[in-house]
């Protein structure tokens, strides 16, 4: 498929990059003029996926861990991919269950995937034990001028 535009960036798994990552993706997708509320959805979803890389994939301690974010757009759709090379997820179905968390002691509530699912049109997770994790988010763009 030929895209209108794309970008790719790799950042270290530092918590201060959570804000940078969601802001960068949101700025990139802005060129399609989505509704402000959809940009909020995109920021929240990217924030969840990137935070999961930092907190879970690299267990909050591997600051050398890398997160690669790719965003591709065509006229009416944004495809965003967040990839890590961390510990991976053994049981994806269970991980995506609302309120399931492996870190309740750190005030995690198991709602990250639930936020992504309620914000994005499609959420796809590929992972396996020690295989890293890739989260693919699809947003059908709702343009400002339509309303």
């Amino acid at each position: 498929m030929k895209y209108l535009n794309y970008f790719k960036m790799t950042i270290p798994a530092l918590s201060r990059n959570e804000s940078f990552a969601r802001t960068a993706v949101s700025a990139f997708v802005s060129q399609l003029d989505p509704l402000v509320s959809q940009l909020s959805d995109i920021r929240a979803s990217v924030s969840e996926a990137v935070t999961n890389c930092i907190v879970h994939a690299y267990d909050g301690k591997d600051e050398a861990g890398k997160i690669t974010i790719t965003a591709k757009i065509n006229e009416d759709t944004a495809y965003i991919r967040i990839k890590d090379n961390g510990c991976g997820i053994e049981d994806i179905k269970q991980a995506m269950e609302p309120l399931f968390t492996t870190k309740p002691e750190e005030e995690r509530t198991g709602l990250g995937f639930a936020v992504m699912e309620s914000c994005a049109d499609k959420v796809k997770v590929s992972s396996g034990k020690n295989k890293g994790t890739t989260v693919s988010l699809t947003f059908k763009i709702v343009k400002k001028e339509v309303l």
């Binding site: 804000s19 959805d41 924030s47 995690r108």
Partner: protein
């Protein structure tokens, strides 16, 4: 400062500023907890009027403080949430904690 406090009688109000994510939640948590422990309020109100962004880390922040004030015999309430923040709060099933300015 990303949290400011006002106190009247048994009510502690914490006004949060900026963006709430995993990176910023830790500092907010420490500030709020030390204020709760120092003042032992009956009610804690989290005022979100200055919050521009929140993800599931904010839910952890709310629930953790709720547990703390409830353990002290009090309650936690939320006010002034923008629509996209309310969406996350609803998803967590915490709508019942939201109070409107007037019904305080």
């Amino acid at each position: 400062m990303n949290v400011t406090f006002t106190r009247t009688d048994e009510l502690l109000s914490a006004r949060l500023y900026g963006e709430i994510d995993h990176h910023t939640a830790r500092d907010m948590r420490m500030l709020i907890d030390s204020e709760i422990e120092g003042t032992l309020p009956k009610s804690l109100i989290l005022d979100f009027s200055g919050v521009q962004f929140m993800d599931s880390s904010g839910i952890g922040l709310i629930l953790g403080r709720k547990r703390l004030v409830e353990a002290l015999g009090g309650g936690l309430y939320i006010k002034n949430t923008k629509p996209h923040i309310r969406k996350i709060i609803s998803l967590a099933g915490l709508d019942n904690l939201i109070i409107s300015e007037r019904s305080k």
